[in-house]
């Protein structure tokens, strides 16, 4: 166990850029590494990712491992797990952090089983236990109704981290670091999967993850028609439209608009929840918004527990009036 040293983050690359979650992991990995008195490394896997090494160093890494191969253009379990297995066995980090993204959710468990260690998914807090020097991993469980702190004895300790809970470092272009290339050593004939097509369902306008204002609707909106009114308000406030899972499952909004435990994690300044009851799974995605305002006809709705301001009433009456007043205010 003591042969393992250092903290490694998996630096996810999206559309040729170092992702925001990678920077958040570097920020949090930096703290853990200094608590352990060890180095922070990052691994970048993909096709044409070498150019991102310097930015990764500026964002906190002491060392960057690059695995660059055309076979790694798209994420596939079949290729990325053996690559990460090889990297981890070569570098032997004590802690490996990944993002709780569609990639991290897939890669971390299979990697941990392959390496014979364990993993904790969707952590919202990580700390080194001063006595044991082991990683204390805090993760919401039961849909967010509770949190559990996990620890385990095997190395490397693998954890995925929820988006937007860790702060990135202020990038420092003068930081120096080492860049090391690792060969992918993939045998294409052993790959049992093939990515045939990538389909983007990008909503027009501001991305939910980046929006400062989100107008979000739930089952109480009752149909796609109602969401047009939410979109109108979102436009006035230069925000985005989000939704609860039932609203997406019913096809009123695209799947990519879902906020929550199994959807997007958002941190706007202003989150307006309309016709959303405030289930723990929904709140998991929006409870870090600076200000939540709820419109709900049920005074007992759980959303009011998370909200700063609330209006008890039918949104069909309240929302048009609110949109009108906002327009008037902003026109001034």
């Amino acid at each position: 166990m003591s042969d393992y040293k250092g903290v490694m983050i998996y630096g996810e690359v999206t559309e040729g850029k170092l992702s925001s979650i990678a920077k958040e992991l570097l920020g949090c990995g930096r703290k853990i590494a200094s608590d352990l008195g060890q180095q922070l490394s990052a691994v970048l896997v993909g096709s044409g990712v070498g150019g991102l090494a310097q930015e990764t160093i500026a964002s906190g890494a002491d060392k960057v491992y690059i695995v660059d191969n055309p076979l790694l253009k798209d994420y596939q379990t079949e290729t990325y797990v053996p690559v990460m297995e090889k990297v981890v066995k070569q570098v032997m980090p004590q802690v490996v952090l990944l993002g709780q993204t569609t990639i991290g959710r897939d890669l971390a468990p299979r990697l941990s089983f392959r390496l014979g260690t364990a993993a904790t998914m969707d952590c919202v807090a990580l700390a080194i236990d001063p006595a044991s020097k082991r990683l204390l991993q805090t993760k919401p469980v039961f849909g967010g109704n509770a949190q559990a702190i996990f620890t385990y004895d095997s190395d490397p300790q693998i954890a995925t981290v929820r988006a937007k809970v860790m702060s990135p470092m202020e990038p420092d272009a003068s930081r120096k670091g080492e860049v090391i290339t690792i060969d992918a050593s993939l045998d294409p004939s052993t790959i049992k999967t093939k990515v045939l097509q990538q389909v983007k369902e990008e909503v027009t306008g501001i991305k939910l993850e980046d929006a400062a204002v989100i107008v979000s609707g739930g089952r109480g909106i009752g149909g796609a028609e109602g969401f047009k009114q939410l979109a109108e308000l979102a436009e006035v406030l230069k925000g985005a439209v989000g939704a609860s899972r039932p609203a997406c499952d019913s096809g009123w909004m695209p799947e990519t608009a879902q906020v929550g435990l199994t959807g997007k994690i958002v941190t706007p300044n202003f989150y307006l929840a309309v016709g959303i009851s405030g289930s723990s799974q929904h709140l998991a995605g929006c409870s870090n918004a600076k200000t939540i305002v709820a419109i709900n006809k049920d005074p007992e709705a759980n959303i009011f527990k998370a909200a700063r301001y609330g209006i008890v009433g039918d949104w069909k009456q309240v929302l048009p009036a609110f949109t009108k007043k906002v327009k008037e205010l902003l026109a001034k």
Binding site: Q76, T77, T102, R105, D106, P109, R110, S112, F113, R114, A118, A119, T120, M121, D122, L136, P140, F142, G143, N145, A146, Q147, A148, I149, F150, T151, Y152, K192, T193, K194, V195, L196, Q197, V199, K200, V213, L237, C248, D249, E255, T256, S279, S280, K290, T291, N302, F304, K305, Y309, I311, V312, Q317, V318, P320, A321, F322, K324, K325, V326, L329
Partner: protein
């Protein structure tokens, strides 16, 4: 097509948040009184995924549940939806496992069942929300895994799977046998029919103990855990909501806009 679907009995995740309690002395959840457990919702959708393939191409669907105190009315739901067989791994030795001991036991049972083309799991169990057991089973069995599937089509010894990505989905082809985890974007699971419920009543599940699946007792349940929960707690949410009232919607809206402006939120 032979399909095995792993279904976990869990505390109803949609029970009112106020009814949720933990016992901090044991680090366990106290099941809410009067709220019956359910099959984890994503696992119901995994059953649905298997049944859709069975409807289109024929085949056999076996549901597999591991746990203790498995309520027959609950774990038989896959049968009433249209699954053919139900296998239960029910023994105290299986209790209080983690992803490692659970995946190991399920993989041993799957080896005993033998013939399979696709193993389905839910994307994550709606209790500990980890989403690791599916990948673990695939790793132990040495077969490919595809997670977060919202659509599955089969043919020619392959499956074409639509898998969620951050901003949409990707279409991936996989050689069978494979393990696939299912997400809610698949669409709603079907309701049991009266005929299905009657058939499920008559059908007795097969119950296996650790010895029946050749499981090493050091690797199952509490004994097989790799992870420790050192604390389970309920985060306190400070309730400080200001309810804004008024004579009519315009009045209320005006007051809210004023508040938000004063707080520099808009």
């Amino acid at each position: 097509m032979n399909m095995i679907v792993c279904c976990k009995q869990v505390i109803d995740p949609e029970a009112p948040p106020a009814s949720f309690k933990v016992d901090s002395s044991t680090n366990k959840v106290v099941p809410p009184p009067g709220v019956p457990p359910v099959i984890s919702p994503f696992d119901e959708q995994a059953i649905e995924a298997a049944l859709r393939i069975k409807d289109a191409k024929g085949g056999k669907v076996t549901a597999l549940s591991l746990g203790t105190k498995l309520l027959r009315d609950v774990v038989k739901k896959p049968l009433s939806m249209g699954a053919d067989e139900l296998v239960l791994l029910e023994d105290d030795a299986f209790a209080d496992g983690d992803s490692w001991s659970t995946a190991y036991a399920l993989a041993m049972a799957i080896k005993k069942i033998g013939d399979y083309d696709i193993i389905f799991c839910g994307r994550q169990a709606a209790d500990w929300d980890t989403g690791q057991v599916g990948s673990g089973i695939a790793e132990i069995l040495g077969i490919p895994s595809l997670t977060l599937a919202k659509k599955i089509e089969v043919g020619d010894g392959k499956a074409r799977v639509e898998r969620l990505t951050a901003d949409g989905y990707e279409v991936v082809e996989v050689n069978l046998p494979a393990l696939i985890t299912v997400t809610n974007e698949l669409g709603e699971a079907r309701y049991p029919t009266i005929k299905g419920i009657m058939a499920a009543k008559r059908k007795e599940p097969v119950v296996w103990k650790p010895a029946d699946i050749g499981a090493d007792t050091a690797k199952i349940g509490t004994a097989g855990r790799r992870t420790k929960v050192i604390k389970l707690f309920q985060p306190v949410i400070e309730s400080k909501c200001e309810i804004i009232g008024g004579d009519n919607p315009e009045d209320v809206a005006a007051k809210l806009v004023l508040k938000l402006r004063e707080a520099k939120i808009i």
